[in-house]
């Protein structure tokens, strides 16, 4: 039976008794070339899945950090086609699963069916659509499946059980649990809502569950690893890229991520 690169990765993690680390970066911030170097570095540091953010003019689910990064990428005239090219170059060099993380409109503008074909051809493994979930994503889910791509779905603390069950059924790869009601961005504490949500979702699915939104420290990651299968770190990485103006962003990311998951670069954390 066909198994996606994402499913395979999570299966291997489970077999090794390890948890996953999923970094997010906005493609094209600060530039396409540097983004490529950053994601290559993240793969070498042992990222289990990499989320590539597609820049959008109106990122309504994002906090200021990712808004600014999206804006910088758009100032560089980065398009979805550029992001696919970046993915192709990455895939030629690494096997780490790649997920496109996007608002719906740029995908519609490209043509969703064409996108699925092109994404599969470039070696992208899944797509997460920020603003289309469940019934609004039905049609997209089918098109993705035809090309062997995973539809990664968001679930939130406000998601009802009934909806969790439906979303879990139509999702593949993993579920992305939003840790709290709110936009993306670093937080002091990971809300207890996250563990409750993961617990609820487990009743309906055997899919791996990653937790994201507001995770920025090693302590928070190990906290999430206690109850979920993977931790997503987005804004915190985007922020160090933003702050790296006079330094080499790749080196800054290397340093930050190595500090975030110190053991994981070597052998992963035993829990």
């Amino acid at each position: 039976m066909f198994m996606s690169r994402i499913a395979e990765r999570f299966q291997r993690l489970a077999a090794d008794g390890r948890k996953g680390f999923i970094p997010f970066v906005t493609a094209g911030d600060p530039s396409l070339e540097t983004s490529l170097e950053i994601v290559l570095k993240l793969a070498d540091l042992g990222a289990d899945v990499i989320e590539l953010g597609v820049p959008f003019s109106d990122p309504m689910a994002d906090g200021p950090t990712i808004q600014r990064s999206s804006q910088r990428a758009l100032c560089n005239h980065v398009t979805l086609a550029d992001v696919l090219k970046l993915a192709r170059r990455f895939r030629a060099a690494r096997t780490t699963p790649l997920v496109l993380f996007s608002y719906l409109n740029p995908l519609l503008s490209y043509g969703f069916e064409k996108l699925c074909r092109d994404a599969a051809a470039t070696g992208i493994d899944g797509i997460l659509i920020t603003d289309a979930v469940d019934d609004e994503a039905e049609e997209f889910s089918r098109m993705l499946e035809t090309e062997g791509l995973d539809l990664i779905s968001l679930i939130a603390p406000t998601t009802s059980d009934e909806r969790l069950e439906r979303i879990a059924k139509s999702s593949r790869g993993f579920l992305y649990a939003v840790s709290r009601a709110g936009v993306t961005g670093a937080q002091q504490n990971v809300s207890s809502d996250a563990s409750k949500l993961v617990e609820r979702a487990r009743k309906f699915t055997g899919l791996p569950i990653a937790v994201g939104f507001g995770i920025s420290t090693a302590e928070q990651i190990s906290g999430v690893w206690r109850f979920a299968d993977a931790a997503v770190v987005g804004s915190a990485i985007v922020k160090v890229i933003e702050d790296s103006v006079d330094n080499d962003p790749v080196e800054v990311v290397n340093e930050f991520v190595s500090g975030l998951v110190p053991q994981f670069a070597k052998s992963g954390i035993e829990l």
Binding site: P59, M60, L104, N105, S109, D131, A156, R163, A181, G182
Partner: protein
């Protein structure tokens, strides 16, 4: 039920829906349930109607604009006087409906976005009336253009927060309001101001604005003993237009929605979604026509009137456009400014720059109408808020 009613999921044809981050789906479900229950509850409408009558001053008059008519041609032109509502625009109709809903739902905090400031003022007003905390998001460019309304909102006790992302206009204010809502879903009611956004807003706002059309029907029948030939309204998000049109969709009446043609037809110079650069897309929860570039990035827009300066249009309008039920046209900034002055001089009414767009189109078509024609223009708001802007522009012209 006719074909102008949306599906249960809020679709008119392919337009509408609910394209939001997952966190907002549950509150939108909760809102839909509360709205549907209220809609079927006579006591809800009794309170709504009582407030519109005793607080807002409805019904608003239908004024025969005799001197405007004389100056333009043979047709009889009526103005539906939404400018005479409390707070000076049609926006209050929707705010009264939604604040009653918010109260039923036990929400203690209301947030809103505003472009021209009329919806912000109306929201601040109903929040003051019911003693509910109010936060209004407004683009900093709009705050500059509508300084008077900013002061009014603050006077009414609202916390006005400037938004300086993107184009610093209505679209960006909506993004910020959505971000607030997603963060404070448990306590907060999002009082959206136009027939836009995710289901159930386009339907709900239309329902609360349809009073405009219902009154117009009985008033024109009383005045002329027949229905009008043409209805005309400006269209930003489209709430005043749909409020007038909805009542008449099944009648044999021509309807014209007037978009902001701005300063030219290039993308970025206007806010006419059915013109250059408009294509079907998804923005802020709804699928509709959207001004965007070839890569699906939302385009910047321009209009002299802040209330029409928006990249998308309510989904019901997108449907009515495709069905050829409503004609959509655009008029330029200059034409709107001309109409602004014309109405002031001929009727003693200073219209909002938004409403001036509808008047400007009547100026264009009037010579072709015959003397038995009856036209109703929705005069959606009064122009006090725009006097400063217009003065600046006219001074520059004269210098």
């Amino acid at each position: 039920m006719n074909k102008y009613e949306p599906t249960e999921r809020g679709y008119w044809g392919e337009y509408g829906g609910r394209f939001v981050p997952e966190t907002l789906v549950a509150p939108l479900d909760e809102l839909t349930i509360a709205f549907v229950a209220a809609r079927d509850d006579q006591s809800f409408w009794d309170e709504y109607n009582s407030l519109l009558k005793n607080y807002c001053g409805r019904p608003t008059p239908l004024t025969l604009a005799a001197r405007l008519g004389e100056s333009l041609g043979p047709a009889r032109i009526y103005l539906k006087r939404e400018d005479l509502n409390h707070t000076g625009a049609h926006k209050i109709n929707n705010c009264i409906g939604q604040i009653l809903l918010a109260r039923r739902m036990g929400k203690k905090r209301v947030i809103a976005e505003t472009g021209a400031g009329q919806h912000g003022v109306a929201t601040a007003t109903v929040c003051a009336l019911f003693g509910i905390e109010c936060v209004v998001y407004m683009g900093t460019e709009d705050m500059r253009r509508q300084e008077l309304n900013v002061f009014r909102m603050r006077l009414l006790g609202a916390d006005v927060r400037g938004v300086d992302s993107g184009s610093c206009t209505l679209k960006d204010a909506i993004n910020e309001a959505l971000r607030d809502w997603v963060t404070n879903v448990d306590t907060t009611y999002y009082l959206l101001g136009s027939a836009l956004g995710p289901h159930p807003y386009p339907l709900m706002v239309r329902e609360f604005q349809s009073i405009i059309g219902r009154e117009t029907r009985s008033q024109i029948l009383e005045a002329e003993d027949r229905l009008p030939d043409i209805l005309m309204a400006c269209v930003g998000g489209g709430s005043n237009a749909i409020g007038l049109f909805h009542e008449f969709l099944c009648d044999d009446i021509r309807m014209i929605g007037v978009e902001a043609g701005g300063r030219g037809s290039n993308l970025g110079d206007h806010a006419a979604r059915f013109m250059t650069g408009g294509a079907v897309g998804v923005l802020q929860g709804t699928k509709s026509y959207l001004l965007q570039d070839g890569n699906g990035q939302v385009a910047s827009t321009h209009s002299v009137s802040a209330g029409l300066d928006y990249a998308s249009i309510g989904p019901e309008h997108a449907f009515l456009h495709d069905e050829n039920r409503v004609e959509y046209v655009s008029v330029s900034d200059d034409e709107a400014l001309g109409a602004f002055q014309l109405l002031a001089r001929t009727e003693g009414i200073i219209p909002a720059l938004e409403s001036s767009h509808a008047i400007a189109h009547v100026v264009k078509v009037a010579p072709d109408l015959n003397k038995d024609s009856i036209v109703v223009i929705n005069l959606s708001g009064r122009g006090d808020k725009d006097v400063h802007t217009v003065a600046e522009i006219l001074e520059n012209v004269h210098e």
